[in-house]
């Protein structure tokens, strides 16, 4: 048997490892089982506070267009089917099926009952200390699709 060698540069491939959705689902489930439901939310707040701080800054400076542009980019990467209704006062996102949930399920894994918090808690945290808030109008447990409404906070 001959020796085999394979060399690849980062630019040779697209960065898109869908199995990371499965790993995140396992992480959520692990926290729930070991530390309880509140720990899942606490972790997601901590993560979102840290990672999405530039997006929050943009939301403060530019308004809801920042959220719109962020999710347009994410959904394009994930090849998601979605629709948006946008005005400077309100952004409604319709995600018809979550690529994350569909990938987890298609690989035979059970989706954590708290997986929806990766949407609601994360977006609530992004909106914290801004003039905007978000509510989840609908969530489809079967495919992870959702309807999210971002809006200006009432004083």
């Amino acid at each position: 048997m001959a020796k085999q060698t394979l060399t690849r540069k980062a630019s040779d491939n697209k960065y898109y490892h869908k199995d990371f959705h499965i790993a995140l689902n396992f992480g959520i489930e692990y926290l729930k089982e070991k530390f309880g439901k509140e720990a899942v939310k606490e972790y997601l707040v901590q993560f979102a506070d840290a990672y999405y701080s530039p997006l929050r800054k943009e939301l403060k400076e530019k308004g809801l267009i920042a959220i719109k542009e962020h999710y347009e980019k994410i959904y394009k990467i994930e090849d998601a089917k979605f629709d948006m209704s946008f005005s400077p006062e309100e952004l409604i996102i319709y995600l018809f099926a979550s690529p994350a949930v569909m990938h987890i399920k298609s690989n035979g894994h059970r989706v954590s009952t708290l997986f929806r918090e990766t949407v609601l808690t994360v977006n609530k945290t992004i909106c914290r200390n801004t003039n905007y808030d978000v509510e989840m109008i609908d969530y489809n447990e079967k495919n992870g699709g959702y309807q999210l409404r971002f809006h200006r906070r009432e004083n």
């Binding site: 085999q4 959705h21 972790y43 840290a50 994410i74």
Partner: protein, 152 residues
């Protein structure tokens, strides 16, 4: 929705969170759990194909992760190695200006893969001395006879 392209910072923050809740041992306990439930495809590939299973597993994973690497397989010698020139995960974490990577982030690659490969009879070594440059080196040494016994 958290994109799979945003997973690495979520992963790093998860390690930090678990350590804050308990300690480093709890983080290792999580890595062991993840190895058991998440790396079943690596286990199956290596159990079926011997050291070639490493090649099969990492060919797909490292392509999807857009890694900068050299992978070598020598079935006669029973050796497989990965020279990671630039790890896409650690590289991303180092690039972010607004978040600090979990201190021992790269150790997960030691715990997760060792736990799969060593019970199957392979020796797993990882050199993490250059992870500050997003570089590492993995060597797996296995049973030279595996391929012959399985008619590969």
């Amino acid at each position: 929705m958290i994109s799979c392209t945003e997973f690495i910072p979520a992963y790093s923050e998860l390690f930090k969170y678990i350590e804050q809740k308990e300690n480093k041992a709890a983080v290792i306990e999580f890595w062991n759990y993840l190895s058991d439930v998440f790396l079943t495809s690596l286990k199956d590939l290596v159990a079926t194909n011997g050291i070639r299973g490493c090649w099969m597993y990492w060919s797909k994973a490292l392509a999807e992760e857009a890694a900068d690497f050299t992978m070598e397989l020598d079935e006669d010698a029973g050796e497989f190695s990965i020279t990671m020139h630039h790890c896409p995960s650690k590289g991303r974490l180092l690039e972010y200006k607004h978040i600090e990577p979990y201190r021992d982030y790269c150790e997960h690659c030691d715990f997760l893969y060792r736990r799969v490969l060593e019970p199957l009879g392979f020796k797993y070594e990882i050199d993490l001395s250059q992870t500050h440059k997003a570089q590492c080196h993995i060597t797996v040494k296995g049973d030279k006879e595996f391929g012959k016994l399985n008619g590969n």
